[in-house]
């Protein structure tokens, strides 16, 4: 596991390191800055990433630091600049393409699905596309249906892509470099509500692996499976469950393709119950896939049907109370988890 090896290089395990207070946004920026410093082939392009500083202020200051050659504002041409990222990667660069949000990535689907994902296989293995695409995802900010999609599950459907969903400061800080070192296209989904997430990081935090899920909390009674923007709500739910004597194990998927099925099954074999939390819709979605894998791999270990907490099957509405009702909430996760234990 080369990524793990790199991790140990960056973070010697036995030396206590200073911790710094930071945010998810700043952790992403630190990762961008480090990548730009370490590898001259790395550049960032996207809408408003340079002079505006990024629509979520992730790249703020990088234009001043690295200049317009490497921090490139693009026209509002998602297909062209994502395709240009593919071509530049084929030409030996290590592009980071920022698509402002997943909603706009639909304008680049041709390039992502028909080109980035296929060219290696279709060319008989002649081409690698070391491209990283970052985009914000998710709802919860009263932005209504066209700015609130959670379509990462769609992308996770596509062979040839790797799909990451950093939910913690460590992953916001560490996934980018590993993704850049990967020879294939990697899409990083950043839930827009996470940008202001505050916490501590080791001062020398660095690259992390991107092949495995993480157990964020251990427990023996029920497995809660989440990722990205719903991890926080899921951790809160686990806390509430603990107060009523239910030990919930929380798995942070981290990588949505390829899924770490082994980690999911190992936990389910221990707890015998599973709740999948996904801000995407239930129908034909990521939660359905995870549920199916549990059925295929651990059906006889289950003491209850797999439960799912997902967005309601509506376009995400604007009004606050309606949006809250549409998205998965902590209380919904608690109810679902208790349901698997036959407790109301």
């Amino acid at each position: 596991m080369p990524a793990k090896a790199k991790l140990s290089l960056d973070m010697p395990p036995n030396e206590p390191t200073a911790r710094v207070r930071t945010t998810y946004r700043e952790a992403l920026r630190m990762a961008l800055r480090e990548a730009l410093q370490r590898d001259e082939r790395v550049f960032l392009m996207g809408e408003d990433v340079a002079r505006y500083g990024g629509s979520y202020a992730v790249s703020k200051g990088l234009f001043e630091e690295f200049g317009e050659e490497r921090i490139r504002d693009t026209p509002l041409s998602e297909s062209a600049f994502v395709g240009a990222g593919i071509g530049a990667a084929m030409g030996g660069m290590r592009p980071i393409v920022e698509i402002m949000t997943v909603n706009f990535s639909l304008l680049a689907l041709d390039q992502i699905v028909n080109n980035a994902a296929t060219l290696r296989h279709m060319s008989g293995g002649q081409i690698s596309i070391p491209l990283v695409i970052r985009m914000a995802t998710g709802g919860g900010r009263q932005l209504a249906a066209q700015h609130s999609h959670s379509l990462e599950g769609w992308y996770a459907h596509i062979p040839g892509l790797r799909i990451l969903a950093p939910a913690t400061l460590e992953d916001a800080r560490g996934m980018l470099w590993t993704a850049l070192e990967d020879p294939d296209p990697v899409i990083i989904f950043e839930h827009a509500l996470l940008y202001n997430l505050e916490g501590e990081l080791p001062a020398d935090a660095g690259a992390v692996g991107i092949d495995t899920a993480a157990v964020r909390r251990t427990g023996n009674d029920v497995t809660l499976i989440a990722y990205g923007g719903t991890l926080g709500k899921t951790m809160q739910a686990a806390e509430q469950l603990a107060q009523t004597g239910i030990g919930a194990e929380v798995i942070d998927l981290r990588t949505l393709r390829p899924l770490d099925t082994g980690a999911i099954l190992a936990s389910v074999r221990k707890t015998h119950r599973a709740v999948v939390v996904d801000e995407g819709w239930k129908s034909v979605g990521l939660s359905a896939e995870i549920s199916a894998r549990i059925m295929e791999g651990a059906l006889y270990e289950l003491d209850a049907p797999v439960a799912r907490v997902c967005s309601r099957e509506v376009p995400i509405p604007y009004a606050k109370h309606m949006e809250e009702a549409a998205l998965p909430q902590t209380a919904d996760i608690v109810v679902a988890a208790r349901g698997t234990l036959h407790r109301a």
């Binding site: 550049f43 050659e69 693009t74 026209p75 041409s77 297909s79 062209a80 600049f81 994502v82 395709g83 240009a84 990222g85 593919i86 071509g87 530049a88 990667a89 084929m90 030409g91 030996g92 660069m93 592009p95 041709d110 390039q111 028909n114 080109n115 060219l119 290696r120 296989h121 279709m122 060319s123 008989g124 293995g125 002649q126 081409i127 690698s128 062979p159 040839g160 790797r162 990967d182 020879p183 294939d184 092949d211 390829p258 899924l259 770490d260 099925t261 082994g262 099954l265 190992a266 894998r293 295929e296 791999g297």
Partner: protein, 331 residues
């Protein structure tokens, strides 16, 4: 005719190679040796043959699904192209691509792209990489006039000019996007005007005249490399065959096709060379014999090719392998 003798004969040879190779493809298709969609270039040979000599080995080519001619002219081996179309693992894309997806990184031939307009952003990116790495190269991007209606055309033209990227946009205007005539799909059929609207250097050439194409391409590539700017070249051409092997050609008259065949790029160039005393019957016969042998070798190579083992199906989806779903479930 004012080309040097060797250049003229080289251009003729390339056109005849493409013509005879594709005639063989059509035969192999009828015999069931080649399947899937196959789009013949017959009638348009002067474009690929005339453009390709302007490119150096370091330059890149991005083409469409009608790309047998470009691949041959670029130097991808006829054997490996034919084997690809037969679906054999000795093919230039291991049999994963077929007629529409010829790839050869060794000659910087980047497809074989079958989504109309989808190759343009990639060409822009290849040129961006060259510009950022300060390599004086050009990326030649072939596409049909049908692509002009796609957003990706306009996005790519704008971005290439905005960033002054060394892309040579080669618009093969054969008048029909599958079965839809240009005038039925464009409010303005002046393609040079569209390119010029992005402030791009743009011109048009008779794509049935290989000498004119050759000269226009030399000028275009020289301009791109000298000034590090994009360039749009329209090549007015016509395909003599159907769009694909499934096209009954209901959208154009036989008379129109016959009219264009009178401007066959090969026949007219042969006539011109004869008139200039550059070609006699013996030389033409010898050239044809060479090409027949080459096509014969390609067929033999394809016939002798082998099928990729099914166990290799998931190979090369990723460069860095992932654990399969099945393996994960066994853990």
């Amino acid at each position: 005719m004012s080309l040097p003798h060797d250049t003229a004969i080289m251009l003729l040879r390339q056109m005849i190679r493409i013509r005879r190779f594709e005639e063989q493809c059509a035969e192999a298709y009828s015999a069931g040796k080649i399947r899937g969609f196959m789009h013949l270039y017959i009638g348009e040979e002067a474009v690929a043959a005339g453009v390709m000599p302007a490119l150096g080995a370091d330059d890149a080519v991005v083409a469409t699904y009608r790309e047998h001619g470009q691949a041959l002219a670029r130097g991808v081996g006829a054997e490996r192209i034919m084997a690809e179309m037969y679906g054999k693992q000795e093919g230039c894309s291991r049999g994963r691509g077929g007629s529409m997806h010829l790839f050869d990184v060794a000659t910087r031939f980047y497809g074989g792209n079958a989504i109309v307009g989808g190759g343009l952003p990639i060409a822009v990116g290849l040129a961006l990489a060259d510009k950022m790495r300060k390599r004086n190269r050009v990326t030649a991007c072939f596409f049909g006039e049908g692509a002009v209606a796609e957003g990706e055309f306009h996005e790519s033209m704008n971005l290439a000019e905005l960033w002054k990227l060394p892309v040579l946009f080669l618009c093969e205007n054969n008048l029909y996007a599958m079965g839809t005539a240009l005038w039925r799909s464009e409010s303005d059929t002046d393609l040079v005007a569209k390119a010029s609207s992005y402030n791009m250097a743009a011109t048009s050439v008779d794509g049935m005249d290989v000498e004119a194409v050759y000269r226009a391409a030399q000028e275009a590539v020289a301009t791109v490399k000298r000034l590090s700017i994009p360039y749009f070249l329209e090549l007015k051409t016509y395909r003599f065959r159907a769009h694909s092997m499934f096209d009954p050609e209901l959208y154009r008259s036989k008379a129109e096709v016959e009219q264009w065949k009178r401007h066959c790029p090969i026949a007219s160039f042969v006539e011109s060379l004869r008139g200039a005393g550059e070609l006699d019957d013996d030389a033409l016969a010898a050239l044809e014999a060479d090409v027949t042998q080459e096509v014969g070798r390609a067929v033999a190579f394809a016939e002798a090719g082998t099928w990729e083992p099914v166990e290799d199906l998931e190979r090369d989806v990723y460069t860095r392998p992932v654990r399969s779903v099945e393996a994960a479930e066994r853990t």
